[in-house]
């Protein structure tokens, strides 16, 4: 399990902002927590998958993709802010993510 520090959220947010700016060819300054990933950035599920892989490697996470998928069905992500929140939960809880709903 990755250790969550004060800086983790900042770091996660920065990675996500830079990732979408790069992938969607927009200026990072045009992205904020309320930016809609699909409507505003024309993002897609492959980007989401790629981002998960980035975080899995960076934080050495033990989590199956389908665990994230099951969680996402109950907690759909639409905005960048929601994605940051979900990513923090993934880092914190890894494969025990679904236990949050119990």
């Amino acid at each position: 399990m990755a250790r969550i520090t004060e800086n983790t959220r900042k770091e996660v947010k920065e990675i996500i902002y830079v990732f979408f700016a790069d992938e969607c060819e927009v200026d990072k300054s045009q992205i904020n927590d309320n930016t809609n990933i699909i409507k505003d950035l024309d993002g897609d599920s492959l980007m989401f998958l790629e981002l998960i892989e980035v975080f899995k490697k960076k934080y050495n996470l033990d989590i199956e993709l389908k665990t994230i998928g099951k969680y996402a069905v109950k907690h759909p992500v639409q905005t960048i802010g929601q994605l940051v929140d979900m990513q923090m939960l993934i880092i914190e809880h890894e494969n025990r993510l679904l236990e949050l709903d119990k």
């Binding site: 492959l46 989401f48 790629e50 998960i52 199956e64 994230i68 998928g69 099951k70």
Partner: protein
């Protein structure tokens, strides 16, 4: 070494990647004109903003083919020459035309005949294809068995990306089950044909009779099969590849891994899609996979 990869049929030409490629529009307009005069007059009405045109499955297939041929022609004119090539699914026709095995017009005839053979042999049943992203093969196989016995995994694009073919109702059930199981993305594709499945075997042999009538030359570029990762170049091998391409399973993931293994470092997606470029992010290796727009200096 450079590989040209010709993508499957697509239905989206907005923001198309060839728009800024030097020479693309000249090649595209010239081939469109040739196709409208010598084969199908309706294609001349195509324009990149008109989506209504793309509701016609066959016309849309012609446009993907014309677009892919024009892309390769424009690249060759700028001295980007492939060492090898592959036709992803129905991209095989453009790969063969670019390799000089079939004429441009015969490529259109083959597309038409494949479409008609399939329509005749599959009428009366509603078929479909779907994609599932985010599950592994083991989980997907369990879902397929639960969803119905018509379903086949007809292509694997990466460790967690698959294409299914089968009866429409069972595809819909499988996609719903996949979502429940935790797939990050599922999608019913905009096709009514179960490409690369056993349901097209009869159609493939009807198509073969037509293929045998088409003049076929040895390929000037090394072509690789997505079915078994074998090279094919002789007219006999090409006839067989065209036939089995309709009803044999593909494996793009395995094909790209094989090409990486023999030292291909640069892949170019020669067509209106960027799907293979996006998919490449999930296949590890020291290489580049470029869309046409990323080649523009």
């Amino acid at each position: 070494m450079i590989a040209f990869i010709f993508p499957a049929f697509t239905h989206d030409y907005k923001n198309h990647p060839g728009s800024e490629l030097p020479g693309f529009h000249d090649s595209f307009n010239s081939l469109l004109n040739k196709a409208s005069i010598e084969f199908e007059p309706r294609v001349k009405h195509f324009n990149f903003q008109d989506n209504t045109f793309l509701d016609d499955e066959l016309l849309s297939q012609y446009i993907t083919y014309i677009y892919s041929c024009a892309s390769a022609e424009a690249l060759r004119k700028t001295s980007v020459i492939p060492d090898i090539a592959a036709g992803y699914s129905m991209g095989i026709y453009a790969a063969l035309a670019d390799a000089g095995s079939i004429s441009f017009i015969d490529g259109l005839r083959l597309i038409e005949q494949a479409f008609l053979s399939i329509a005749t042999k599959t009428s009366g049943t509603r078929f479909a294809m779907g994609t599932v992203i985010g599950l592994d093969l083991h989980d997907l196989l369990k879902i397929i068995h639960a969803a119905g016995n018509s379903l086949e995994i007809t292509n694997q694009n990466s460790t967690h990306s698959f294409v299914l073919s089968g009866i429409c109702k069972e595809i819909e059930i499988a996609l719903a089950l996949a979502s429940e199981e935790g797939a990050l993305h599922t999608k019913l594709l905009k096709v009514t044909v179960p490409y690369h499945s056993r349901f097209l075997e009869e159609a493939a042999y009807a198509f073969l009779a037509f293929v045998k009538e088409i003049p076929i030359e040895p390929a000037s570029t090394h072509l690789i099969s997505l079915i078994d990762q074998q090279w094919f170049s002789s007219p006999g091998e090409i006839v067989w590849e065209l036939t089995r391409n309709l009803y044999f399973h593909l494996n793009w993931y395995k094909t790209q891994q094989y090409l990486l293994g023999i030292g291909i470092k640069s892949f170019i997606e020669c067509g209106p899609s960027k799907g293979l470029v996006k998919n490449a992010k999930f296949i590890e290796g020291n290489y580049t996979f470029s869309s046409l727009d990323s080649l523009v200096v």
